[in-house]
Subunit: 365 residues, 2 copies
Amino acid sequence: MASKNLLLLAGDGIGPEAMAEVKKLIAAMNVKLDSGFITDEGLVGGCAYDAHGAAISDADMAKAMAADAVLFGAVGGPKWDAVPYEVRPEAGLLRLRKDMELFANLRPAICYPALAASSSLKQEVVEGLDILIVRELTGGVYFGEPKQIIDLGNGQKRGIDTQVYDTFEIERISGVAFELARTRKNHVTSMEKRNVMKSGVLWNEVVTQTHKARYADVKLDHMLADAGGMQLVRWPKQFDVIVTDNLFGDMLSDIAAMLTGSIGMLPSASLGAPDARTKKRKALYEPVHGSAPDIAGKGIANPIAMIASFAMCMRYSFGMVAEADRLESAIAAVLDLGLRTRDILSPGMTEVGTAEMGDAIIARF
Amino acid sequence: MASKNLLLLAGDGIGPEAMAEVKKLIAAMNVKLDSGFITDEGLVGGCAYDAHGAAISDADMAKAMAADAVLFGAVGGPKWDAVPYEVRPEAGLLRLRKDMELFANLRPAICYPALAASSSLKQEVVEGLDILIVRELTGGVYFGEPKQIIDLGNGQKRGIDTQVYDTFEIERISGVAFELARTRKNHVTSMEKRNVMKSGVLWNEVVTQTHKARYADVKLDHMLADAGGMQLVRWPKQFDVIVTDNLFGDMLSDIAAMLTGSIGMLPSASLGAPDARTKKRKALYEPVHGSAPDIAGKGIANPIAMIASFAMCMRYSFGMVAEADRLESAIAAVLDLGLRTRDILSPGMTEVGTAEMGDAIIARF
Ligand SMILES: CC(C)[C@H](C(=O)O)[C@@H](O)C(=O)O
Ligand SMILES: CC(C)[C@H](C(=O)O)[C@@H](O)C(=O)O
């Protein structure tokens, strides 16, 4: 049996509470199904800074590199607002992405039927929504150099960030998008700002070439990223797979998530390239929501996004497609029963806490 | 009487049709109210490229610099998709912004009561919405150098753009936001990505200092730009004035515009610094919508955003507050009567064309 070594990095805020539900699920699977998951834990974010003075220690980073998959909770909170930029909580996540070379961030925006009414958008606009944002995750303005603040004297400073994309980076992320589109509605929309950015011109050119050379069977559209944001709000069902860069992906995937009315429900997967020998991809799975420090420690956080991230982990890292399907069905079943954490509560539904929600899903798995 | 020299740059697509309605209005005002507007015209965008091989000629640029205000229609279309980057239609608009130093872009997102039902968002989420996005317009990744595509050999290219902000640029745009907030609900939300971008760190720092030094009476919040995008979709009425950089402003103002269900209705103003001697600001007014080549020339475009841009022009460039108020009331009155261009048509309303809509507004002005 192939190894199933998981590193759990619960992080800050509601991260540990949400992760606790996944731990229960893993324990149950190991006992009842002999699933053979082996878990280890580490620190990331503010808690890692408090313990080691870094947003992730070299030792935990080494564990992440060695694991078959990393489950990540959330990082950050007001407690660490004033820590130096280099060791801020987010630096731990960014180091994981960069050092593990997790260039492909998959963010499904799915509207659970039971929650269609809770979106701020009209029900007919979001009902049945199922789009996938494929975001480039190791390049662009997140990592380009120079990235610095220069003191110009006279009370003036200059803040600089650099957006950089090379052909191969655009090629590989668009390859992922086209491959995934083939398993879906066979339609990719690429978004950039080629009318303003040279990296956008190159993005457009390389996506077009990759399409022509290897994926001509997939329908490809190009949209300016600002128009894309508008179209997401106007009529999101026009999209199937959206492929875009790191920063536009950050904005657009958050907006897409919010459309569904269920930001507490949405998982994501960050994948590396397949290893030449083992074919395994390095991978990290994390909820789209943040650390929500305002509700942390109260037992009311929604664990569904974290649990759904584990479903993605089974699907993409361990080929456990049947188990992933069953877990996703269990989530939908519990919602159909009317169980709701506070963030998705609506009249007539039954409010439950984090642990009750986790238990209910595990019971139906 | 102070001069009222207007340069009209109608541009491409539906720009000329929309501008024609403003021309009728100006002619009527000159005759009936002796308003004394003097208009000149020029070319910008694709039509300028066709005529001169540049997206705006030096001669028209000089006219823009000399005018008291520029009215701008829209630029671009598939006809010019393949022209070189340096002379693409957008380059004309970007040159106007840069050479006129129009650093402050004011984009109101207002939900007209008569149109609240036509938003893709729930009526209660957008009804009565009135927010103002103040976007920095002459800095950031739009203009930073290096901005280039480098050939690396081996079939690899590198696309580079540079995001740069200096203290004074952030100071002056946040000053505009705070001043405007004082005339509204006294609340500014500043948006950046300080968790990823050094320019965001500086942005946050300078806005905070400017607030403390000169505008401590205004309520100030900071939000990460991705969270800001989500909050715009979730509950936009939490905002009054949003101040943000050029690229985030591009994305966020388009999304805010789309929320209102009336992208064909929204104007914008782009202002420079007051001249040291005359106190006059260089200014350009333009609709938020684009050139919509698919409906150009059919007489069905919505001229309201262009007309409302002229209302902003009267308000900000000529101190004609009463006239601006009256023009905005005339627009609302015509909507209340049920007149609609095709883009905002809903059951039970009366469809009219571009010219009829313009005439109806002028008749009620
Ligand atoms: C926490 C932050 C660094 C991160 C990002 O900007 O990528 C987050 O917003 C996300 O989308 O995963
Ligand atoms: C046309 C384009 C260059 C422009 C921009 O990106 O600024 C437009 O989208 C806008 O928002 O005014």
